[in-house]
Amino acid sequence: MMLEGHDESFNENPKANGEVSLGTTIMAIRFDHGVVMAADSRTTTGSFIANRVTDKIYKVTDNIYCCRSGSAADTQAISDIVKANLTVHSLELGQPPAVNTAAKVFRSMCYKYRDQLSAGIIVGGVDSTGPHVYSIPLGGSVVEQPFSIGGSGSTYIYGYCDAHYRPGMSKEECIEFAKSCVALAMSRDGSSGGLIRLAVITPDGVERQVVTGIEQ
C-alpha cells in the first residue's frame, strides 16, 4: 500500500500496480475570521507526473474545503461521499454545516476503513463559531490545530513552519506564509511541484488563487 512519502517504496518497485498518488504538500492556516488553504498541483504514478495542474483543494460545502493527500482514488471517493453526506445534512439542518461535523464525517470513513485506505486530509472552513482547521492523518485521528501541514513535502517544512508561524497573523500574512511554505516544500520534495493553489475562506465567501513559478 503506497504512503505519501516515497522513501519505503523506492527500494521495491514503486507503484508497480499503477496506483495514482498525490505525493503532495498541503497546508491550512487559521486567522481571525477565516482560513487559508494551500496545496501544490502534482499527481504522480510512480515517477511519471499524471497531472501537473491538479486541484487538491476540494469543495465539500460552500463554507468548508478540504486538502487531499495520499491515494488519489481514495481521497476523491471519500471527498465525494462526505460532500453528498454533508449536503443532505445541511438541508436537514437548514443551515451550513459546522466544520467540526465535516471533520467527524471524514474521520468516520478514514478510521473505519483505515486498513484499506491511504488518505491524509486537512479540513478547513468557517461556520457560526468561527474559522477552524482539522487535520486527519493516515490512521483516522482528528485533531484541531491553528495551522496544519500534510503530505510528503510537509516533512521538509516542519522546522520552517514552527519557526515562522505566529498566532494572530493577518489574512495577507497568512497567505504569504502559506505560499512560502508550499514553495519551499515543492523545491525540496520530488513528489510536489507545479503550481501553488490557494483558497481563502471567509464569512463573505471563498477566493481562489493560483501562483505559477516556484521561485516567488
Binding site: 500496480n17 499503477g18 496506483e19 495514482v20 484499506q116
Partner: protein
C-alpha cells in the same frame, strides 16, 4: 553474510514479476473549439505477440460520449459496455441526453469498487449541454480533468507531442479549430506508434462537436490514418498448382 542473488536470478525475478505496468497502447484526447477529439492506435498485444493488428480502442458510451481504453482489453471492453447500457437506461429514465459527468461517475464508482483489479485506464471525452469535457480515469478510480491527455504505454511519447509539438508543429493551445486538433491528435498517436513497442498499426480518431444550433454530433473516423500499411502484398492471389489426374481405380466413393 546475507544471501546474494546472482545477476541472472535477479533478472529472472524481474521478468517474472511483470514490471510492465503500463499497457500496450497509445490513446489521447484534446479539447478543441466546440468539441473534443479522441485518438487511439490499433495494436492489441498479449505479451510480446500482436494479437490484433487492427482493433478498436475507441468505445461508444452514448451518442455524444466516447471512451478510449488502455489496459486489459477484456476489462476496458466490458466496463465501457456496462456503463454504456447503464447510460442508455438513465436516458430513458430522465428523458435527457447523457452528461459526461454521469458517465464519469459511473465508471469511477465501478473501478473504485474493484480497487484497481479491473485494469482499465480510460480517456473519456464528450460534449453535452454544458460543453465539451475530457477526463482520464485510472484503474483505481481516480480522475483528472484536463484540456489534453494521453494514457497507455505510449502516453509519454504522445504527451510530449501534445505539450510541446516538434520543430514544425506546435503543441496544444486553447481554442484550436477541429481539424487542427485532429492533426495534433494524429501526430501524438503517431509518436506512440513509432516510438513505443506496445503501440502500432493505424490511427483511429473520434470527433465530437456541437454546432451553433446546439446539435451534438460524433464522427467516428475508423482507420483515419493507415500508418503501417502492408508493404509487400501479392497483386495476384496465390494459385494452388492443379493436381493432375493420372488414372482412376475403381469407384470414386470415399
Amino acid at each position: 553474510m546475507p544471501k546474494q542473488d546472482t545477476p541472472q536470478q535477479v533478472l529472472a525475478g524481474l521478468t517474472s514479476k511483470n514490471q510492465f505496468t503500463k499497457t500496450g497502447t497509445t490513446i489521447c484526447g484534446v479539447i478543441c473549439k466546440n468539441g473534443v477529439v479522441l485518438g487511439a492506435d490499433t495494436r492489441s498485444t498479449a505479451g510480446d505477440i500482436v494479437m490484433d493488428k487492427n482493433c478498436e480502442k475507441i468505445h461508444y458510451i452514448a451518442p455524444n460520449i466516447y471512451c478510449c481504453g488502455a489496459g486489459t482489453a477484456a476489462d476496458t471492453e466490458y466496463t465501457t459496455e456496462l456503463i454504456s447500457s447503464q447510460c442508455k437506461l438513465h436516458r430513458y429514465r430522465t428523458d435527457r441526453d447523457t452528461r459526461v459527468a454521469t458517465a464519469k461517475t459511473m465508471l469511477t464508482r465501478h473501478l473504485f469498487q474493484y480497487q484497481g483489479h479491473v485494469s482499465a485506464a480510460l480517456v473519456l471525452g464528450g460534449v453535452d449541454v454544458l460543453g465539451p469535457h475530457l477526463h482520464t480515469i485510472y484503474p483505481h478510480g481516480s480522475t483528472d480533468t484536463l484540456p489534453f491527455v494521453a494514457m497507455g504505454s505510449g502516453s509519454l511519447a504522445a504527451i510530449s507531442m501534445l505539450e510541446q509539438g516538434d520543430a514544425d508543429h506546435q503543441g496544444w493551445r486553447p481554442n484550436m479549430e477541429v481539424e487542427e486538433a485532429v492533426d495534433l491528435v494524429k501526430r501524438a498517436i503517431h509518436a506512440g506508434i513509432f516510438n513505443d513497442m506496445g503501440s502500432g498499426s493505424n490511427v483511429d480518431i473520434c470527433v465530437i462537436t456541437k454546432d451553433e444550433a446546439g446539435k451534438i454530433a460524433a464522427d467516428y473516423r475508423r482507420n483515419t490514418d493507415i500508418a503501417n500499411p502492408r508493404k509487400y502484398r501479392r497483386d495476384v492471389p496465390y494459385k494452388l498448382p492443379a493436381t493432375r489426374l493420372v488414372e482412376v481405380n475403381g469407384d470414386m466413393d470415399m
